[in-house]
């Protein structure tokens, strides 16, 4: 359904051109849940915004590659076509629900506007649809709440309203950019359950962007790991967590404190590289515990490590396995 081909996104800044997305290729099938994981500055949000051509241009530019939605190039669409794509095929929810809602209009008005933008219908019918959507996302007493303003809702409730708004257009793909980062854990659990339920009922594909590996373990069928603007590993949740084939993913997993607590954490030394002037070889080489001389010169492409499992590393799967064992046993 969605196909991203060798996408490059550059951001023009006073300090130089930031290669925020540097040659990313992947696809999303109808109805699946894809998780994109990465740390801040890895380019995951810029990538997500590119799928709807939402990055403001300038500073953003797309020098190479393309995004295809149902075989139509998104990057070549004109304004009218983009409006239609954003209004009905792809919808997005953001991290901070307060800044995505207009504080001076009632929730109902904003929701009805979204419904009308998708398909013109009588006002009464749109209002009923709005109430139904609010009920679907678990807002109690939707008939009354439709008359409330955004500030009268809590953070979790606002996120629900945004999800309802995104669903108004019956999208085929829902992009969720850090949808639960601003929420408390018990509310996060509610919103994650809601997203799962929505997927079942509406059959939309979901792309969830997060830095929280727990969230993708919970939700995603397939996980893409981003580092320094590139995809470094992709595969099923099991591949990523149990058959990790890329040192960055592995280091990231080792640096999370487990709920069980106990042993000392293993942080990743150093900082992610500058995306203005990225290293010549593998972008993770300066921080990689297994880096060799070759890694400094060769930038590895994604290579198959198993069915549907790819990693960008010069080490073969078995070489990496034995290196991992060496570290864990010592």
């Amino acid at each position: 359904m969605l196909q991203v081909n060798n996408l490059h996104v550059h951001l023009d800044t006073p300090d130089g051109t930031v290669k925020a997305v540097d040659g990313v290729t992947f696809s999303i099938e109808a109805g699946e849940t894809v998780g994109i994981v990465g740390e801040s500055g890895s380019g995951k949000s810029v990538l997500a915004h590119s799928l709807m051509k939402l990055n403001p241009e300038p500073p953003a530019a797309y020098p190479e590659g393309d995004v295809y939605f149902n075989d139509r190039s998104v990057l070549k669409m004109n304004k009218k076509e983009l409006r239609k794509l954003r209004g009905s095929d792809i919808a997005m929810i953001f991290q901070d629900p307060m800044s995505s809602l207009n504080p001076v209009f009632k929730i109902g008005k904003q929701l009805i506007e979204a419904i009308q933008a998708h398909r013109k219908r009588p006002k009464k019918e749109a209002r009923e649809k709005a109430i139904e959507l609010l009920r679907d996302v678990g807002i109690p007493d939707p008939e009354a709440r439709i008359e409330s303003y955004p500030h009268q809702f809590s953070g979790g409730m606002r996120q629900r309203v945004l999800i309802a708004m995104a669903l108004a257009s019956e999208p085929k793909l829902l992009i969720a950019d850090e949808p639960t980062t601003a929420l408390d854990v018990t509310i996060q659990a509610q919103v994650l359950e809601l997203l799962k339920g929505i997927q079942k009922r509406y059959g939309a594909a979901i792309m969830i962007i997060t830095h929280d590996l727990g969230v993708v373990a919970h939700l995603a069928d397939r996980i893409l790991v981003m580092y320094a603007g590139r995809l470094v590993e992709s595969g099923s949740a099991e591949d990523i967590f149990y058959r990790t084939a890329m040192p960055y993913t592995w280091s990231l997993l080792r640096s999370i404190p487990s709920v069980g607590g106990g042993e000392r954490l293993v942080p990743i030394d150093g900082q992610p590289p500058s995306l203005i002037d990225p290293p010549a070889g593998c972008s993770f080489e300066p921080r990689c515990p297994f880096a060799t001389e070759a890694c400094r010169h060769v930038d590895p492409d994604l290579k198959e490590r198993g069915s549907g499992h790819e990693a960008a590393c010069l080490l073969s799967f078995s070489e990496f396995e034995s290196l991992k064992e060496g570290v864990v046993s010592s």
Binding site: E39, V185, A189, Q190, S255, S258, G261, L265, P267
Partner: protein
Amino acid sequence: MSELLEIKDLHVHFPVKKGLFQRPKQHVKALNGVDLTVREGETLGIVGESGCGKSTLARSIIGLQEPTSGEILFNGKDYTKADAKETREMRRDVQMIFQDPYTSLNPRMKIGDSIAAPLKAYNKTDGLESRVKELLELVGLDPDTHYHKLPHEFSGGQRQRIGIARALALEPKLIICDEPVSALDVSVQAQVINLLQDLQKKLGLTYVFIAHDLSVINHMADRVAVMYLGKVMEKSGAGSFQTKAQHPYSRALLSAVPVPDPVEERSRERIVLSSELPSPANPPSGCVFHTRCPLATDRCKTEVPILEEKNESGQEVACFYPIEEPASAGYAAR
């Protein structure tokens, strides 16, 4: 281990002013009768959702917030009744590390000077520069090159290290860490957590560690206190919090954290709490958690459960119906 900090029946109420004459109509009970003790050399973790009063508690402990009633004893002396001179002395021994190190550093001040500020405030100017460099080295920064830089030249993790260096400048006994790693990426978060643990061992520090992230709390804390709407719902004793937690709210919190393990995560039974946090201005009657509790009965609506010791390990639970069987084994194994 002796008790370094004792908090007794602490209340902090904020008036909500309404109407033409701005008369206080209601009070937000940010802290509503909190009892806690912190022993020397340990880490007490405080966990709770936004609005539970954990930051107000931190501010009360370092004396930034005057309590409405109650006592805060530091080394046996009551903080809340101390005069200016005594307060000044106590403040030297209690320092704080903040969530966002960027906003807590002066953007126009070289970080060497920022770290020196508390030393100057207490007239410890002998060998100032070498002391600052020693502190920079202690937190893993380069004493020579980093001394003259400005805050914006550092990454988030490095800034947090600067915040830690400044907190350590006066050789405090107790450090309040208010969400010290929640603004950092996981790989950097691990660096800061390790640093805090190393410093504790090296300098014999006592921490009150406030966080909303249970996995971080479990990793750091010797004992955990769970807060909800200005009250302590449970204090864990020695031993693991995640298996022995008995309060339904603690259990719900634990089960809400997504664990980075797909098989475990998909098979786990999750207690999803209905509804949201009630307003702290108008907390529910009886047990404050009863509106969201899956086990609540009529008794919970009228009677207030008090914190009671449950076993020899010192675990205390404020609930009429604590869950005594341990949390699922698979979960604990993580």
